[in-house]
Symmetry: C2
Subunit: 364 residues, 2 copies
């Protein structure tokens, strides 16, 4: 199988790189979104997302959907990607419009294209296995299925959506594909524990693989008003007026997620359950979980002097961070703001960001 | 009673302003000692120490003993004090030599002088009552007693020395003086609770009032070797060689505290128990106790955004300090270092300073 050209249909990766990742404040900011941060090493999350695709996709077949305000910082981080492969939304309207926009760009390049919708800000420990399942997913998608990657759950998470698998379809590249029985929104603890025991549910990773013709068919059927807006944008692609049309249409597009807008009502959805060491890095606590730890279970970036400090994440900048008697804490120090909270409250960082938005005092 | 001249003997205040206050790191540093910090308001601890003496002592009769390295910052803070009233130690040798040095300076000015040995970095809530007890102490000292101010204990502290009172002496200016039965080093919890219940013990505040001739008599008797060194320094006072003699003698002086070196073995020691709202501000936790609190019991200096944060001291600089779910914590942010610890571990800040001294990496 040649890179990016599989059994006749070209295979494209589309990296969804919108969003800020505000639960990683104060490191994440509007001008410095989560995907542009170096969270798990020297390379940024976005660079890592491209790195792990490169053995499978040539740069010409890696597209990025992001906001106009983030385009420059992301382009600079991955100069090997062609400028034209950055698809810029004037405003973010959720994942459904972003996928639709990428799909019409691809249809214009090649109506035969298969597209993998991937994330820019998630952590994947086993990149080789990730590429293997992407290859399997391509084969499943060729048959017309809309494929979702299902992450084998490692605990009874209540913060993710779940995918219940139905009838077995077939083996592809060593992976078993199943029909999707249903998508389940974030469950309560007891339901999540039941899912974990069943062995027949996966986390919804937000990664999808499908033929461009198939997904646009679903847009036309399930989101007809949006599909008309898409067609207006598509008609202008490649013309001087393209940007102006997008600027006019996009603010009028209704916000929608791909899960609600398409997947839940889609026909012929398949899931490929896989264990690739995935984390959405959805909070500082998630980062504390995945990063390699020192003997005391701490995760330290920068200068730290600790006395009796355990299982604590210290993401420092230039300052010395001195701690005494801390357990399970999050400390994130930046030039103009510092966050201090217990790991179990890491989700509430969003509330800090909300308060800053209300007050208009900056730091965002 | 005229300011500074009471019943014929002149009354001098001697403020002991050596030391760093390293338990208040990272705000206190070698170049910015605790007494030079604004901890309880706009004025620094040293300025407050002088302010509360001014209704009782003219500037000419307020002396300061400090290290050569701190003289400039302290002089700038209290320009009303004459330059000559700063007595500079080449090296710190503990409180006994500092008191002795001040005493020979005063003997040269006036052998009749009475001196109050006071602190530069303690908090005294009731300054008027403090001055009243200093006036009483002067009267007790005139009779030849070595007077200590005893602080009425407000809880069973194990971090202070105690003074056990013996036979009642007399009333002075509305205060009752007692002979001192004994000085007790930092007691264990049970002993401290017994002291608190007895109503006959006070905290040793480190504030003393005595005639210069009496204290020098005690130095001659109890620390004869040091007294000879003092006489060498005294012989040179007022001559061009004075500084050189001090520089030569002082490094050879043995370190000693006034409590061990003089008070425990002194003759005719009296105590004046008093409640003046005193705190040694010996740690960040002590500051959390004495500072006025907001509704959540927090003490905040600088920009703070808190969610569910209570009884926490936040001493910020320019940065925004954002906290979630904290209780009884200490957060001190400075330009180059930040400290985070539970209030109950505030004494261990000293360990951080010790580690920094060992490693030689700065921040001191």
């Amino acid at each position: 199988m040649r890179q990016g050209d599989h059994q006749g249909r070209p295979y494209y990766a589309v990296i969804m790189a919108g969003g800020i990742g505000s639960r990683l404040w104060p490191l994440s900011r509007q001008h410095r979104p989560k995907q542009a941060l170096s969270l798990v090493g020297e390379r940024t999350m976005f660079q890592l997302a491209v790195d792990r695709l490169r053995p499978l996709f040539p740069p010409e077949q890696i597209l990025v959907v992001t906001g106009q305000d983030h385009a420059n910082v992301l382009r600079e981080q991955v100069p090997e990607l062609p400028d034209d492969n950055f698809i810029l939304e004037p405003v973010g309207r959720g994942t459904a419009p972003a996928v639709g926009l990428a799909a019409i760009h691809l249809r214009r390049r090649d109506p035969e294209a298969v597209m993998a919708v991937l994330t820019a800000d998630h952590y994947i420990h086993d990149a080789a296995r990730f590429r293997a399942v992407l290859t399997a997913a391509y084969q499943v998608a060729l048959e017309g299925h809309l494929v979702t990657l299902g992450i084998t759950p490692s605990y009874a998470a209540t913060g993710f959506g779940y995918i219940r698998q139905g009838q077995r379809l077939d083996e592809y590249n060593g992976f078993t594909a199943y029909q999707v029985e249903s998508f389940v929104e974030k469950p309560d603890r007891a339901t999540a524990e039941g899912f974990l025991k069943s062995g027949r549910t996966s986390w919804n990773s937000g990664m999808f693989i499908w033929r461009v013709d198939r997904i646009l068919e679903e847009f036309a059927r399930q989101m007809p008003q949006f599909y008309q807006q898409l067609e207006r944008v598509e008609a202008a692609l490649g013309e001087p007026r393209a940007a102006a049309v997008l600027e006019r249409v996009w603010p009028r597009v209704a916000s929608q997620t791909i899960d609600y807008g398409i997947m839940e009502g889609a026909q012929d959805v398949a899931v490929l359950p896989v264990d690739i060491g995935w984390s959405d890095v959805g909070s500082w606590a998630a980062l504390l979980d995945i990063l390699s730890e020192d003997a005391a279970g701490n995760v330290v970036r920068g200068r730290h002097l600790g006395i009796d400090t355990q299982r604590t994440l210290i993401f420092g900048a230039d300052r010395l961070v001195a701690t005494i008697g801390l357990r399970d804490m999050i400390i994130v120090d930046t030039d103009d703001a510092i966050l201090i909270c217990p790991a179990e409250r890491a989700q509430d960082v969003k509330k800090i960001v909300d308060k800053l938005q209300e007050s208009g005092e900056g730091y965002l």
